[in-house]
């Protein structure tokens, strides 16, 4: 019987939740890396036992962790002493911006909150995206925004400098949460195509494996920037794709839910009847590519659900027409947030949907959102949720 493994990153450690295909009874493992912030964990599609984790701390900085046994044991790749000339490894947390003339442009600054140039400074890894085909290849989206890749299982990292080398780089600005590259989507139909998104620069796409990039923000309208339809500057919160239709993208922006049917070349709004078009997460049903999920959040100051009711909204028509999913979710006095990487779907026959809250709950639905139940209620604030469907 199939199993699911839910990887949960929180403010104070990681938790791994496992169940059989019924998804009714759960085992909880953790905290792993107790006391550290776990921004993201994700398993390799090519080897589900290979899991990468971004472990960070205000005191001690960034550590990359790797498991080869489904999260039972972990290692910091390169952290062990190796004899001979390869001694002194320890580069798995070494994210150094590439400013070499050969592979990137000598970018030295982006725009800061005060509008002045500010040096790029590595702060943390927000998102880890393992390759679809090679367990040792993994991408890292970091703050200050840049994309890195490791081809040796996370031991060493190299920037895909063409992204920051795009001519708009010096004009990117941080949002209140920092200038983070938080979304990395690999196109299963074209290994050269990658989508990424940055708060607050927007979405970008490469069609040549990361050498060159183009902004894909046409159709976005952001009233909080001087030129609302500018090429860059949009605060994209998250982007989702169903692998069966890699040219169709769904976006939750800082206000507005958007859709693209041409690989991001143009976008149109699908917020429709949502109670608010602000939110962080967005995801797509694993078998119904026109069924999408969001969690509307009140903004700008509040960042909790409208009316104290935690509601997932589902559209079965690719947007615009939304229904509230409330069965099993708190419908009064609920003031949690659901952060941008904290929703995921499994690929079982009846699609499972999962999300985590800043209140420490992880909710699961084994029937595509009709009914919900908490797997756990009292974790530290949840930063990310990913799901692995296992044989």
């Amino acid at each position: 019987m199939s199993k699911v493994r839910v990887l949960v990153g929180t403010r104070k450690g990681a938790f791994i939740l496992t169940s059989d295909g019924k998804r009714q009874d759960w085992e909880v493992s953790g905290p792993h890396f107790a006391g550290w912030e776990l921004y993201h964990l994700k398993g390799s599609p090519a080897d589900p036992n290979r899991i990468y984790a971004s472990q960070c701390s205000g005191w001690f900085g960034q550590v990359i962790q790797r498991s080869n046994d489904g999260g039972n044991t972990w290692e910091a790749p390169g952290g062990d002493i190796k004899p001979g000339p390869e001694a002194m490894q320890g580069a798995s947390n070494k994210f150094v911006y590439d400013v070499s003339p050969e592979t990137g442009k000598p970018l030295t600054t982006h725009q800061f909150y005060d509008g002045k140039p500010h040096p790029w400074e590595f702060k943390r890894v927000w998102h880890l995206e393992p390759s679809l085909t090679d367990p040792d290849t993994v991408y890292a989206g970091i703050e200050d925004a840049a994309l890195f890749r490791s081809t040796d299982g996370g031991t060493s990292w190299h920037e895909l400098a063409g992204l920051r080398g795009h001519g708009t780089g010096p004009h990117w600005q941080p949002g209140a949460g920092g200038m983070c590259l938080h979304t990395v989507i690999l196109d299963p139909s074209d290994p050269q195509r990658i989508y990424i998104a940055i708060s607050a620069a927007g979405a970008f796409r490469t069609d040549d494996g990361g050498a060159t990039w183009k902004p894909i923000n046409k159709g976005l309208y952001s009233q909080y920037i001087p030129e609302p339809t500018a090429e860059v500057g949009h605060c994209v919160h998250h982007v989702a794709m169903n692998p069966s239709r890699p040219g169709v993208l769904f976006m939750q922006k800082h206000w507005d839910v958007m859709r693209s049917d041409d690989a991001g070349d143009s976008w149109h709004e699908i917020s429709g009847n949502l109670p608010t078009d602000f939110g962080f997460v967005i995801d797509v049903h694993s078998h119904e590519p026109e069924t999408i999920y969001v969690v509307p959040i009140k903004s700008d100051g509040e960042h909790y659900p409208p009316d104290g009711k935690l509601r997932v909204y589902r559209s079965r028509s690719g947007g615009n027409e939304w229904e509230a999913l409330t069965n099993g979710l708190p419908q009064n006095n609920c003031y949690v947030n659901v952060l941008r990487d904290a929703m995921a779907v499994d690929s079982l026959d009846s699609c499972g949907v999962y999300f985590g809250t800043t209140g420490g709950q992880v909710y699961a639905s084994s029937d595509a959102g009709d009914n919900w139940a908490p797997i756990v209620r009292d974790l530290p604030a949840v930063l990310s949720v990913e799901v692995q469907t296992l044989p």
């Binding site: 550290w36 001690f60 062990d80 002194m88 070494k94």
Partner: protein, 98 residues
């Protein structure tokens, strides 16, 4: 032999129990001690000093012999009591709420 006490999170990360004991080549300075520490425990690279700038991470401090050595030159000689192993070099994390 030089003794170093690390914060609990770094001991866990490097799988260290208790104090670290290091043989340091040449004069005992913050730089030479941290170089020796990172050579013995490569996973600690980047967690005490920035990978690129080699600057102390802002929320860490270096104490020894009831003195704060955090703002000393990394090449200044450590107190004799640290160099001789009589007193440990303490790597301290800032106190924090939450």
């Amino acid at each position: 032999m030089i003794r170093v006490e690390l914060p609990q999170h770094l001991r866990t990360l490097a799988k260290i129990s208790g104090e670290v004991k290091l043989d340091v080549v040449g004069p005992a300075t913050l730089r030479s001690v941290l170089d020796a520490l990172e050579a013995q425990y490569p996973v600690l690279q980047g967690t005490i000093r920035d990978h690129v700038t080699q600057q102390r991470r802002p929320f860490l401090r270096f104490f020894a012999c009831e003195e704060d050595l955090s703002h000393e030159s990394p090449d200044a000689l450590l107190p004799e009591a640290v160099a001789s192993g009589k007193e440990p070099l303490l790597v301290i994390g800032a106190i924090a709420g939450g």
